[in-house]
């Protein structure tokens, strides 16, 4: 179910206009907010017709927005070594941190696009030259050795494979793994579960706070909350979405 939620969040952002009209349609059948986010994907008509039934898992269909196929494969391998999938659960690959980075590079992080292009190209060049194959095809132990050397600024002849590049990728891998799923990563709330963060909520009572990581996760994006969506305010309703009356 949460897989579908993730996919829906992507679509809502990527196709705001369609999403709005779909949302208004769904409102007609009593589905808004979180319910909308868990509904299956597909065409507008299929959406409204199938919204009430629990859908099967929908395959992810989406294009990379800025990264090339090779860049994304190498970056995903890199991110997967920073936050690996292991005995402590899934990692950056499963959380789709690279999807977050790809989208951000087309928008808020455009200024980093060049640095990614240059760094990932050097990573490929170095891997091909020293190991005879692409970085993402190397065994994990060899990937780790290259990353370790990068953090030590110990890769001679490849000026951009340095700790600065590593730190940038590390930062953005963390951002993508632990961010609100609205932005394309933290799929299935993998990142928040890893930390024991019980998720965004509009209000927290002392009893809820005191449960810490044992509190049942909210399993929602900030933008599942009706007051923060792009839906226009209903005539006559408060601009605070009614939440101001709750305390």
């Amino acid at each position: 179910m949460s897989d579908d939620k993730k996919t829906r969040a992507d679509e809502v952002e990527g196709r705001a206009a369609q999403s709005l009209s779909r949302r208004n349609l769904l409102k007609g059948v009593g589905l808004t907010g979180a319910a909308l986010m868990t509904a299956g994907s597909g065409s507008l008509s299929a959406q409204s017709a199938g919204a009430m039934v629990s859908p099967a898992r929908i395959p992810v269909r989406e294009a990379f927005e800025t990264l090339t196929a090779l860049e994304s494969a190498n970056l995903d391998a890199f991110a997967s070594r920073i936050i690996p999938s292991d005995e402590n659960g899934p990692g950056a690959h499963e959380a789709r941190a690279v999807h977050y980075i790809d989208r951000a590079l087309a928008g808020a992080m455009t200024s980093s696009r060049e640095q990614y292009g240059v760094g990932l190209a050097s990573l490929e060049d170095y891997s091909m030259q020293s190991k005879g194959t692409s970085f993402h095809l190397l065994p994990e132990s060899e990937q780790d050795a290259i990353i370790e050397a990068m953090t030590q600024n110990a890769i001679a002849g490849y000026a951009t494979l340095n700790s600065g590049f590593f730190n940038m990728v590390r930062t953005h891998t963390i951002d993508g793994t632990f961010s609100d799923p609205y932005y394309g990563g933290n799929r299935d709330f993998i990142g928040w579960d890893l930390l024991g963060y019980p998720g965004v909520r509009a209000i927290s009572s002392p009893e809820e706070v005191s449960q810490g990581s044992s509190l049942a996760p909210s399993r929602q994006s900030a933008y599942d909350m009706p007051i923060h969506t792009k839906d226009p305010v209903e005539p006559g309703s408060s601009s605070t979405g009614g939440a101001a009356h709750g305390h």
Binding site: W192, V200, S204, V209, T240, H247
Partner: protein, 559 residues
């Protein structure tokens, strides 16, 4: 060609934390006020619990005007000043009060009389060499009624420590006397803050919940805090945070005397042949407009207050408005609020929900609350520890040198410890010094071609000694609460651009060392009022906003 508009009584430049307060006493005095604000209106719908938007992409910094005017910064004249990535300014109705932590302290009475009190108690030679610090032109008692008005007009929660000289339980034992209690009790405690309070009592200290411009219960038509955890750089989704956008500005608009003009960028303050200000010139879209007024209240950020004066040149003021004395930009300081201590605890702290203003304060080591006879500094620091944790910043926690910062070992470490760390917040007495100042950058310009402000300033020995001393106290506190490992950070250097920026248009009795008189009006241009941290000559050891707001109310009322 500029279009001249009908004259008004008062123009307020900037409807933020201070301009947004000043409009209320201005309209109460029956004056017609035009408020020019460079940003627009935000609503609760804009304020989602979103760490990417608030803290990574830093929405307050993306506002159109301020992001093109990022100050350059250098430690001293031996360096080339450079623009950093960020800035602390904000455009929008409510300004920084939309997204600030909202800690709303009154300064300690000592902060008003640092020179005379230090001299009386320890001797004149204890004022740091090169400091240009002066006593304020009045005492805490003069400002007390204005603190009171702002606390009630905005809605400030807190536990009084001293009502008319009578000490109160649960409050700050060192605060100056107040006429009455806060309008609301302090924000609630949490398991973590209770643990830290217990530890402080073991050390013989007096912990208390600090004051905040955040409702702890229903106040007027606004609810109490929802404690959802996205207050830091976040606007409030239920308007429990008492920003001027939901308090004094709408209250002033009810009078019909306040006209708000948004997306208005002031280019210049105008003056006549006698040196009196006559209004302002501003830009909306591609239109240049002139708004004549009898008085102008300059209420932008500290950096922009000095900058706009320096850019407002005329025959009467060739070096900038009100700057024939050469004092605009002088006595600048950024609050020393860095150099935190970071603790690791052996158990989860349950800090996933909460806010920076929900914390515990220790004032034993602030101001002159302790004997400095055998110490090599004056002043001190307020120790603050608080609840606030968000997932991305939690994952970027210190590794305490226990693991590398990537890979399976690191992942196991953050899985175990994400909710077991805490970073302190220690605000320290910071003084003005010769050599620390603001001026116009000789090279870097904004998109309209105007120079940005240049910060030349660094912390000196007095601040660094306070930092080292208070880090010791903070470590004691964390250890008493059961912390198993401590990391300390560097003691300070270049001041850089700060949310807590003071000076540049200092207030004082001596017109040769100050820009404004004791009421906040420019010595050289008496109908120009200047509002904000830019008039403050000392920082104290606590957040500046409430003091700047109280001063703004007083200046506005005096007009």
């Amino acid at each position: 060609m500029a279009t001249e508009l009908p004259k008004t009584d008062v123009v307020v430049i900037g409807l933020g934390a201070v301009g947004g307060v000043a409009v209320l006493p201005l309209v109460s005095g029956g004056l017609n006020v035009i408020g020019l604000e460079a940003g627009g209106w935000f609503s609760t719908r804009d304020f989602a619990p979103d760490e990417v938007r608030n803290n990574l992409r830093d929405w307050p910094q993306q506002v159109a005007k301020a992001k093109n005017e990022i100050p350059t910064s250098r430690a001293n004249i031996n360096f080339e000043a450079a623009q950093g990535g960020g800035h602390p300014m904000m455009n929008g109705v409510g300004g920084t009060s939309l997204h600030y932590w909202a800690q709303s302290w009154r300064l300690n009475p000592w902060d008003f009389k640092t020179v005379s009190e230090t001299t009386r108690r320890y001797g004149a030679n204890r004022i740091p060499v090169d400091s240009t610090v002066e006593d304020w032109p009045f005492s805490y008692q003069e400002l007390e009624p204005y603190y009171d008005r702002v606390e009630y007009a905005l809605g400030v929660s807190g536990n009084a420590g001293n009502v008319n000289g009578s000490k109160q339980a649960n409050g700050n034992p060192f605060e100056g006397p107040r006429a009455r209690a806060y309008p609301m009790p302090g924000l609630r405690s949490s398991g973590y803050t209770d643990m830290m309070s217990d530890a402080a009592r073991q050390l013989g200290w007096t912990p208390f919940q600090g004051p905040a411009a955040i409702n702890s219960e229903v106040y007027g038509n606004r609810p109490g805090c929802f404690y959802h955890g996205y207050c830091d750089r976040g606007g409030c989704h239920v308007s429990a945070k008492s920003s001027t956008a939901v308090t004094t500005i709408p209250e002033a608009m009810k009078s019909g005397l306040l006209k708000v003009v948004t997306h208005a960028r002031v280019l210049k303050i105008l003056n006549d042949a006698d040196g009196r200000v006559t209004g302002v010139e501003y830009l909306v879209g591609n239109q240049v407009l002139i708004q004549p007024a009898d008085a102008v209240m300059l209420a932008s950020h500290t950096y922009e207050n000095s900058r706009l004066l320096l850019l407002s040149t005329s025959r009467q003021f060739p070096d900038g408005l009100a700057n024939n004395s050469g004092q605009v930009g002088q006595h600048y300081l950024s609050h020393h609020q860095g150099a935190p201590v970071i603790a690791l605890f052996p158990k989860n702290l349950n800090n996933w929900y909460g806010l920076p203003a929900q914390g515990v304060a220790i004032d034993e080591w602030a101001d002159d609350n302790f004997d400095h006879g055998d110490l090599d500094f004056i002043g001190g620091g307020n120790l603050w520890t608080y609840t606030d944790r968000k997932p991305i910043s939690a994952a970027k926690m210190s590794t305490f040198d226990r693991v590398p910062n990537w890979g399976s070992k690191w992942k196991a470490f953050i899985r175990e410890n994400a909710d077991r760390t805490n970073v302190s917040y220690i605000q320290k007495t910071t003084l003005p010094y010769r050599g620390n100042y603001l001026d116009l950058d000789p090279q870097v310009k904004d998109k309209l071609g105007f120079p940005v402000i240049r910060i030349t300033a660094e912390h000196r020995d007095n601040e660094k000694r306070i930092a080292a001393f208070t880090q010791d106290r903070m470590e004691e506190w964390y250890r008493a609460a059961g912390a198993v490992q401590i990391v300390r950070t560097g003691l300070g250097g270049a001041m850089g651009a700060s949310t807590h920026a003071y000076g540049g248009t200092r207030m004082g009795n001596d017109p040769t060392t100050n820009v404004t008189n004791a009421f906040g009006f420019a010595d050289e241009a008496p109908t120009l009022g200047i509002l904000g941290g830019s008039v403050m000559g000392t920082s104290g050891a606590r957040n500046p906003t409430l003091t700047a707001q109280a001063l703004a109310w007083r200046t506005a009322e005096h007009l």
